[in-house]
Symmetry: D3
Subunit: 234 residues, 6 copies
Amino acid sequence: MTIDPHLAKAFDGVTTATITTVLLKKGLRNVWMRGTKPIRSPQQRQIGRAFTLRFVPAREDLATPASWAAPISTRAAIEAMPEGCIAVVDAMGCTDAGIFGDILCARMAKRGVSALITDGVVRDVAGVLGTGLPVWCQGVAAPPSVGGLTFVGWGEPIGCGGVAVFPDDLIVVDDDGAVVIPAALIDAVAAEAAEQERHEGWIMSEVNKGVPLPGLYPSNAEAKARYEAWTKGQ
Amino acid sequence: MTIDPHLAKAFDGVTTATITTVLLKKGLRNVWMRGTKPIRSPQQRQIGRAFTLRFVPAREDLATPASWAAPISTRAAIEAMPEGCIAVVDAMGCTDAGIFGDILCARMAKRGVSALITDGVVRDVAGVLGTGLPVWCQGVAAPPSVGGLTFVGWGEPIGCGGVAVFPDDLIVVDDDGAVVIPAALIDAVAAEAAEQERHEGWIMSEVNKGVPLPGLYPSNAEAKARYEAWTKGQ
Amino acid sequence: MTIDPHLAKAFDGVTTATITTVLLKKGLRNVWMRGTKPIRSPQQRQIGRAFTLRFVPAREDLATPASWAAPISTRAAIEAMPEGCIAVVDAMGCTDAGIFGDILCARMAKRGVSALITDGVVRDVAGVLGTGLPVWCQGVAAPPSVGGLTFVGWGEPIGCGGVAVFPDDLIVVDDDGAVVIPAALIDAVAAEAAEQERHEGWIMSEVNKGVPLPGLYPSNAEAKARYEAWTKGQ
Amino acid sequence: MTIDPHLAKAFDGVTTATITTVLLKKGLRNVWMRGTKPIRSPQQRQIGRAFTLRFVPAREDLATPASWAAPISTRAAIEAMPEGCIAVVDAMGCTDAGIFGDILCARMAKRGVSALITDGVVRDVAGVLGTGLPVWCQGVAAPPSVGGLTFVGWGEPIGCGGVAVFPDDLIVVDDDGAVVIPAALIDAVAAEAAEQERHEGWIMSEVNKGVPLPGLYPSNAEAKARYEAWTKGQ
Amino acid sequence: MTIDPHLAKAFDGVTTATITTVLLKKGLRNVWMRGTKPIRSPQQRQIGRAFTLRFVPAREDLATPASWAAPISTRAAIEAMPEGCIAVVDAMGCTDAGIFGDILCARMAKRGVSALITDGVVRDVAGVLGTGLPVWCQGVAAPPSVGGLTFVGWGEPIGCGGVAVFPDDLIVVDDDGAVVIPAALIDAVAAEAAEQERHEGWIMSEVNKGVPLPGLYPSNAEAKARYEAWTKGQ
Amino acid sequence: MTIDPHLAKAFDGVTTATITTVLLKKGLRNVWMRGTKPIRSPQQRQIGRAFTLRFVPAREDLATPASWAAPISTRAAIEAMPEGCIAVVDAMGCTDAGIFGDILCARMAKRGVSALITDGVVRDVAGVLGTGLPVWCQGVAAPPSVGGLTFVGWGEPIGCGGVAVFPDDLIVVDDDGAVVIPAALIDAVAAEAAEQERHEGWIMSEVNKGVPLPGLYPSNAEAKARYEAWTKGQ
């Protein structure tokens, strides 16, 4: 599930901000996961295919330490994660029970998982930071997942931060948070994103020279001509 | 999936308030679904096995009117509902897109579904009331489900109003809202609930005679003796 | 500003639910105002052009009883309302200060205002009900507007319940709440809405005969043919 | 603790809306309890001295059915309530555990308590309505108080709906909700409230005659003169 | 619109905490903008006159990339900002669409704007930090403003973080967030603030010597005499 | 009130994450205070007995700068704090008025208070950081406590972050936040916590060697045997 080298190249240097603009132009406005932030700052940008996990609320007969040894458990899910995937966890926005702590994050790092994304929180944050796993989450809580959550499975469609995520969608995360690119749209987005980054880079250089915004961003005919001349000179 | 007659009898006259007290004594504190209320007042109490449905957030490429004809659709789910079941719908608490309107509710009523429970809302409320289907929900919104939600399946574990619900759990709904009795605990709850209702009925009659609460509720030895004498006299 | 008779006829019997579906097909998903409900149930459906009012938060030096006599005041705004308009008030969702009480509502009723819509609340609810003015709001609070709000003007673009409303947009309100039809889209919506209502009416009659949903709603070729035959017979 | 007859007379017909306006003119903006509403509509207006109760969050070692027999219990608190008081209960806005059910409300009604006010909810709503006790609350939940709350005492300063309430403050509740008049300000408020009601009654009669609002409400010199002439004629 | 040198001097070293205390003594309790925080820590304190901008919610027919070239656009607003002003942006607390990204912030920095304050969020945070513009906001989101917001104008009264802000009010921002000083009160606040800072500095030095708080803060007659003696010695 | 040396030793190196797991196994799920975070990162872990303080909402006649000199004041409470205690402050989650600023925190540091924990916020954050007092809170606000809160006492049961805290309960705070150990359970928790830390340390070392999670965490018979062999070798 490691991402194709050509995709990695196509999205090289493309920010989540740019991806949301490209998707909005295609009519998709709800692709950025609310509430999830880098656990350390700065944290290396990541890109990978989504491996989904799903929790429902805790019920005292289900959400017990004993459940950790059941066949459908977070442990089993982690062993099913392919190298290079990004684990996306639907915790229903729960902020008072940590979905994973240092031990589970250490195992994910060992297995080569690229990142953990959740609309919930993690626990034992000092230990989690020690594992080196890149994590995007809402924050930190001491209680174990069974204090608020019951794990029910992996590889299913989920919601995370108010966004629908399906297995194998492409996930990109950086300092602005996490965005999903639906699997069917990956190539179309790749085709436009790099050009948009280049255009915005040129606009930024113009602004730094003191050019006012109207006519420049978005560009009128004159500015477009100057940009095209510049691109030819590259 | 119509409920066994002996269960219907065991829970006859047992309120959701009593069920939550019995379950709390067994260590289950999270069994009442938050936010879901009767759509009309009063609305007939219902009891039945849970038939679960699940939504994730809307994504413009998925949540379209065209999706209504897909094999995994709310329409197909409704055709799979057995007579006497209670449909429990995980709408993630979304209050700005109606999960179902009058047409879908009319079909559920035709199929003999006992009730619709959701932590979301319904639409076309005048029409929904006209179908006669008993509904518990958070309220009403005009927009269709695809305005905020994507339907992903039925017969799975879900969260509804912050409570875990599994297929075939027992659901009881009345004016206090909706509670879940885990399938494995149904008989144990049935055994205690009727007795607790009878005891509380006697306490209420004592209060109406002017007996103060301390010693009566909960009952000390003297009150217990009086209650036992009364029960023998019944 | 009374609505054109041909518009009133075009939207006759068209629900807010239908309007949101028509607008969603045109790419507009955010047209239903969150949180605002009829103050009495049932309350007569209303349709009219938007007359907008805007509040900002209270500041003790501005939001005083003395401000009620200022040139820019809610009183002056009411005197500027044309007959048949629908007043739409941006209260920023504030639920602990009533925007208007019985006296202001009585004056609006006198002036022939069709309805008052707000994402805030009203005060002196018994008196407001007495005026007969149709009101959609979030509820009721005793304190005066100056307890939480400062009035700043009318006839401007506003947000109401998370929706953008511009002066002269068309507003329709019924038991499902309030929707906005952007002024430029009114005719296009009118053209489709009545046909959709008729189609859904036919589907409902089919459901009542026991026809299952798949193939019927949305309609496959066979169902479409039956519908067309039916429409010819009307 | 029954309210003085002269106070009952001074506040006769004075709405909570009017009281909040009078208190705002004295610099008190935070006197209306958020979220608490009449449990039936309409419900008779009530006035009485505050008898306060206080909950903290549930902790499983404390909030148990066994706690109901402890010396500091809701039962003991109810037996301490004087006739004519208004019980004001700080439930920290908790909406998923009912503070009281039918038995406790029945006992309060027996003891002549005028009303129960809370920023929480009640349980067994059908039974509570049957007791006839006037109740203002946020709604209804099936679970018992110990599912979410631990009772810790009575007769203390509390918060209720975001408002500070001290024992013996005066409470007035009507369809607009509940307001507190600090004990030290009762006479000052009484002196102004009745006059304000009379003045607003006259303004309403003017509005009903078709008089526009500017100059009338608030009144300019001419309108004041007409009002004074009218009051002399009464 | 650069602030007068005498004002800059009068507020030199005066914290937002002190300003809120001075304004509270004058009866203004609602002057601190909720939710807005420095984007970097620490971030240089700023002071300047308010230049206001206003958004309403997104509507798909209005909030499009095409709108960025309209006459009423964020670009045009930025070109109207005078050197030394503080831009205060009413984003209605929206946290899932960035009001501005790196290009717009770069232009603001070029124009000598002192700071950007909003109750919304910014996007492309790495780029924004690179511009050096001091920013106070609720956080970060990848999507563009048109994903959630429609820009409607500048130079109007707005709400920001639950506080009313008018053009030309004085804004002070530091690590405790942003406060507004109404234009009419600037001189009165300036007169008291510096003295209060000096007094609190002396109290702090007393605390550091081990003096207990009662009698010192607030100061009784003895402490006041010691403070006055100290001030004379300065 | 300094903690017993044997307790300090028993909890040496025990994280709040471990304590919540131990308490959950004893049936206590609600012991972690929501929303309160270290004011600096990292911040030294603290342990101590709870000294409780309680606020109710602000009322303008009560919450004034003058109140700071009253016998029941935050100043008097601070003078009553024993060395080594942890002050736990119920601010009802209020985030727009700082409970304490630099002067009060400086005095607490002088008195040897181990930490300040609140579900509210502090003010003058630069000054507070300068005092060196370890603080866990929801954030920062400029306004004084009287802008939103009225102090009513100390040494009472309180709620903090949705958790019940009684005087003399044991409080442990670290980077994961704050947990309460009920006074009656301290020894039982101490007995298990150190062993659990040791066990999890061994599991972490196994994960670092590449051992998969199933069978290891939780441990099956084989893993238990290996762990026991390891412990004997220590």
